[in-house]
Every structure is written in structure tokens, then in C-alpha cells.
Amino acid sequence: MDIRIQLSMCFHLDKCIGCHTCSVSCKNVWTTRQGAEYMWWNNVETKPGAGYPLTWEDQQRYMGGWEVTATGALRLKLLKGPGKLRTLANIFFQPNLPTIDDYYEPFTFDYDNLFNAPLGDDQPVARPKSLITGEFMDKVALGPNWDDDFGGSPLYAANDPNLKGLSESQKQMLTHFHRLFYFYFPRICNHCLNPACVASCPSGAIYKRGEDGIVLIDQDTCRAWRFCVSACPYKKPYYNWNTGKSEKCIFCYPRLEVGEVNACAHACTGRIRFVGVLFYDADKIEDVAKQPDDRVVEAMREIVLDPEDPKVVEAATKSGVEENWIWAAQNSPAYKLFKKWRIALPHHPEFRTVPMNFYLPPLSPILHQAKGDEGGTYDPESMEFFNDVELMRIPVKYLANLLSAGNEELVMESLKKQMAVRMYIRQLRVGDVGDAKVKSALDEVGLTAEDAWEIYKLVSIATFTERFVIPKTHREIKTTIDPRTMYEKRGSVGFGRKRKELVAREW
């Protein structure tokens, strides 16, 4: 057993209101630099939706993630064929690399014209201007949330690969007004246990930090071979076209090291995010990544170790884990949501990178189709509030494609547990559900009343320090600060020195 630590973020999708505050606070802190304008280390997608970059989940096109070969070995999809030799063959030109047009061309508007336009018969307008070339653009053709709230869903959301396997009538949730359903999906780097970006980097510039599992790109070693961008199935490393380096979400490690919360999670108005520590067994990563689709989530739950187990604590202490980290693991919201209560699920585990961010599948809308609609069961006259989760408006199959490699039982388990907790609390507060009904709902999913109360407390009314259990890094022995360069790097957020803007951008 090789015990290691992983920082993990969990997202309660029911509570995400799609306000993009997380994206904006991340952008303001990390990616306001030239060459990084188009990057959204944290972005929020409307699901079903095409996402950012467009249809990133379509691995037929992007070839991201891993596959298990006929001989049972783990191989990067990108390196199909002659294996690693393909890296050398494709280093000059990568057939699977997304281009800026798959994200969007960063733009600003010619605001000056609003103030300085000469007197005329027409209202002056602010035309869009490319942030790359500085030239006027005919039109803004794409943006980071282009299909937000189902904008143009027949054109964009219809291409969502997660719709695979849904019936035609279920797909009507994209186009039929009475059946519309979507939810928001915030995404950051998953800081995977088996990261494809690390495995694909010819320079060896990308690495996982041993102490906390954060995946980082060494900016001094990156040589712009761009394999990470292609290999990551989540498209979370981004290529900075100005500095010629790839960049990605750094899990706000300078903040976490001193016990502060990630910029995105701290800013979250819906309080949907939880940050905590997980213990896992590094010896088993390869086995987990090789599991077949129906087993992979279970295997991921098995690799995460119980921090209350004295044997685990002893082994962790022996491998140098400090006391405050063990305490954090024992109080970790990530552990509780993912493993203890089994209500959080990983995002696209079938990509086999063993992602370490977890999502609570959305229960809303609780109301399903009205009776008048085809196949609907909800009677508006009825006083019944809680209904079968099977009949919900959002197809479980869709959530399963998104969160559990198509395994519908796992999604149902989580939804039913969430529903049981709601019934329990409703009975406690209002008392109109009936004790017997609550008890049978809890029994069906194997929760006790105490569990239900704990779940309610964490996902609904938890305080700041309960949602974010972040141990401070012992900077006296581990530090990322190089005193020789700390002052010159200040103001450049660590991504290269400040340098003169290229000539093309004079405005």
C-alpha cells in the first residue's frame, strides 16, 4: 500500500445557478494575460450542450484519454498505432489538436468609437475587435458560453455526445418547450490520478505533485509540443499562443498552501462547491484505470481509503503525512460525498484518467412531465410533492453518460438518496410526508436518520469551514517559492516574465 493525498473538489449540481461567478473570479486571478484571454480554467457549461471547446467530449474527434488495448495494457488514445513513436511522428503537426476556432477568437469592442465618432446621422457602434490580430471582426462567431441556457440548441446542444442512447422523445427536452430541461455543469481540471496530459508530454514538463496530487505544468520545461492539449479528454490544458507554453488550472495552489480556498470555490454564490482531502492507494491506479466501464466508478471508490481506519492512519503517518492533513482527511467533505454516502460521481470516468472531482447529479426539477403531456404522470391537482425519480424530466441515461460511464444504477442510487434526504427533512420540518413513508425511503437506499441529517447538513447548510477543509501546507519544509526569482515573477502570476506586448497590440 502506497498512501498518497489528493485534493478534490465536489460540486452539488442542483445548486448551481449558472451565474459564472466562479469562471470570472478564476479569470480575474489567473488568465487575464495576453495569450490566455481565451482560456477559462474554470468554465460552466449548460448541459445538454456542446461545451467549450465545442463538443470536447467527442473523443472520436479529439482522441483524448486512455484505452485498454487487446493485450490488456493501458494506452493513450492519441498514440494509437505505433504507440509512443507516434509522438515523434506527430510532433510537427498534430491532427487532433483543437484550434482557437474550436474555443473562440478572443475579442474586445471598439468602445472608443462610442465617444469619438464624428457627428453623423447614425448611432455610433462598438464593433468587435480581435484580441489576437487587433483587426475588426465581421462578427463574433463563438464564445465560451455560446450555447448557454440552450441558445441555439438544435445547432449546438444537439451535438452533445452524452445524448447517445436516449430515445427520440427524451431528446425532445432540447426542443419542445414543455419538456425543456437543462442544468449547469461547472468544470475545472480534474487533477486525475492517471492524467493523460502528464503521460503525453514529450518534455516531461507536466507532473503531479506528490504531496497533494495537484497536476501542474512546469513552465520552464514546456516546449510547446502541445500533446497535453490533445491528450486531455477534458480539454483542460490550454495552449498560450503568445508565450508558446501550455497552461492549466493549478487548483489555486498558492492559495491552498496557506489554507485559503480556491478562487472559484470561494466565489461560488450557490455554495455548490466542497474542497477536501482524499487518501488513496497509488499502487492501484493502473488497475482502476483498466476496469471495464460498468466497474470503473466502484473501483474508484475502492482506491479511496477510509481515513478513520487506524491502519490507514498509521500507514499515512509512516509515509510522512502530517497530522493536520490526516485531520483534514477525516473531516473531508469529498470523502463523505464520494465514498461514505456514495452520492457524488466522477465526470466521464470512461476516459480512464481517474478524475478526482466529483459531482452530485441534479435532482431538479422534481416535478416531472405534466399529465397532459405525452407520457407525463404529474397531476397538478395532486398534493403529492415527491415522486418517483425514474419519472423525472431529466433522463437518467443522460446523467449516467455524463457521470458514471453509462451506469444508470449508480446515478439512481445517488438520486434516490438525495430524494430520501429531502423527504426526511420535509417530514421533520413540515410533517406532511408521513413517518412510514420516510422510513421506507431511507431504508430503500440504506441510509439511517443520522446519515440523512448529516447529508442535509453538509449539502444544504454547511458553513464555510465545513465545506472547505483545507490543511495548510508545511511551507517550512515544502515550498514552491524560489527566493531567487520571487520578486521578478511577482505580477506575472508565475507564467513567465512580464514582457513587452507584441507590436500588433498597441491599443
Partner: protein, 235 residues
């Protein structure tokens, strides 16, 4: 004044010294700038027809030059049989033409694509000019003065060795035609430009070669030694 000695007996040392010292200096002081500065992300349609032919053509041609430097005797022996000579010359010519096509696409792309133009520095323009001269003079030598591979191995290679052994003998190449001399001097300028431009990226080929043998996953530790290790030895 002996121009030959000036250009081929003295300046090589100046250029190569600047290149070596400059490269080391840049690696030590500004490693962040060490990048291939790929612009595929901004434009990938023309690049496909530029980058593949250019890199495969030029790398193989360069390898041919280096092999001749290392084993000139074997090289000449190979050429002693006419069929083998024709084969070598023909493949060299084809690779050179491939490189030329790629280079022309590069130049076309830099001139026409506004996004690529936005990330083009003066160094990039200079490199393209130097490379164009190099490829064109190389092709000219191959076409006009037969057989280039023979006289390269018998006169230019001894000069290169004389330079390497710090005993420059410019007589070896004194009688070469002007086109060949331009080719050689331009190559020296190319070497000189390495530390100042994106050309440093081809010195980073060691990383990709190491990648072929290293394990997939890398972990860096602050508290353990060695600081970099593999999670699991699967390759």
C-alpha cells in the same frame, strides 16, 4: 585580404562560440523562453502542408550531412557504385524539394494569415530568409554541380574537421563554386542565430527521445528523494 580565411577560417569560431555560449546562457537564465512557439493553434490548415514536408525533409537532409561528417570514407565508398550514388542524390534531391515546398508554405502562411502574422517576430522573418537561402543554394548545388554528395564528403567535410580540430584549412573549400560557399557561410549564420530565436527548439529533441523510454506518469515531491519519480512503471 584573404576573404576565404576570414569567412571560413575565423568567423566559424566566432559564430560557434556565440552560439554555444548564447545557448547555455539562455538555458540557464531564461529557460521560460525556450519554446518551439508553435502556431498550429492559430492556423492548422496550411501548416499541415508546411510543417510535415519541411521537418521530415530537412531533418533527413541534415542527418545525411551529419553522417557524411562522421564517416566520410564510408560515405564515399557507398557513392563509388553509380546506382547507389544516383539513389543517394535522388533521395537527397527529393527531400530537399520537400523541404522547399514546406518552407514556401511557411512563408505563404506568415504573409497571408493575419493571426499568424500577429505572432510573427522579426527573428521569425530573418530565420525564414536564412532558411530559404540555405535550401535554395543546397538545391542549386545538387542540380548544377554533380555530384554534390561526393565533393561535399571530399572537400567540405575535411574543412569541417579542420575547423573542429582547431586547425582551419580553408584550401579544402577555396576552389568550390560561389553557390557552395554561400551555402556553407549561410549555414554558419544559421548556427549563429540558434540562441537568439525559436531555432532553440530543435535542441530540445532530447526530451521527446527520452519520452519514448520513460514511464507515463511523473510525480514530483518536495519532501522525498528523488524528487521526480514514476507512480507506476507502465509505459
Amino acid at each position: 585580404m584573404n576573404w576565404d580565411f576570414m569567412l571560413f577560417g575565423t568567423l566559424p569560431y566566432v559564430f560557434i562560440t556565440i552560439a554555444i555560449v548564447g545557448t547555455i546562457y539562455r538555458y540557464m537564465v531564461n529557460r521560460f523562453s525556450w519554446s518551439s512557439l508553435s502556431s498550429q493553434f492559430l492556423e492548422n490548415k496550411v501548416l499541415f502542408f508546411g510543417s510535415f514536408p519541411w521537418h521530415f525533409g530537412i531533418i533527413l537532409v541534415l542527418l545525411g550531412h551529419i553522417i557524411a561528417i562522421l564517416i566520410p570514407g564510408t560515405f564515399l565508398a557507398w557513392n563509388a557504385v553509380p546506382v547507389r550514388l544516383y539513389l543517394l542524390e535522388l533521395s537527397g534531391l527529393i527531400l530537399g524539394l520537400l523541404a522547399l515546398i514546406g518552407l514556401l508554405m511557411f512563408i505563404y502562411r506568415r504573409l497571408t494569415d493575419s493571426r499568424v502574422r500577429a505572432v510573427t517576430s522579426s527573428w521569425d522573418v530573418l530565420i525564414l530568409i536564412i532558411l530559404a537561402i540555405q535550401v535554395l543554394t543546397g538545391l542549386g548545388n545538387a542540380l548544377l554541380y554533380r555530384w554534390g554528395s561526393n565533393w561535399y564528403a571530399s572537400s567540405a567535410v575535411p574543412w569541417i574537421w579542420s575547423v573542429i580540430t582547431l586547425n582551419p584549412q580553408v584550401e579544402y573549400i577555396a576552389s568550390l563554386p560561389l553557390l557552395a560557399k554561400i551555402h556553407i557561410f549561410n549555414a554558419l549564420i544559421f548556427i549563429l542565430l540558434i540562441p537568439f530565436s525559436r531555432l532553440v527548439h530543435f535542441l530540445a529533441f532530447i526530451g521527446p527521445l527520452k519520452y519514448l523510454t520513460r514511464s507515463y506518469q511523473l510525480v514530483r515531491w518536495y519532501t522525498r528523494a528523488p524528487r521526480t519519480e514514476a507512480i507506476r512503471q507502465y509505459k
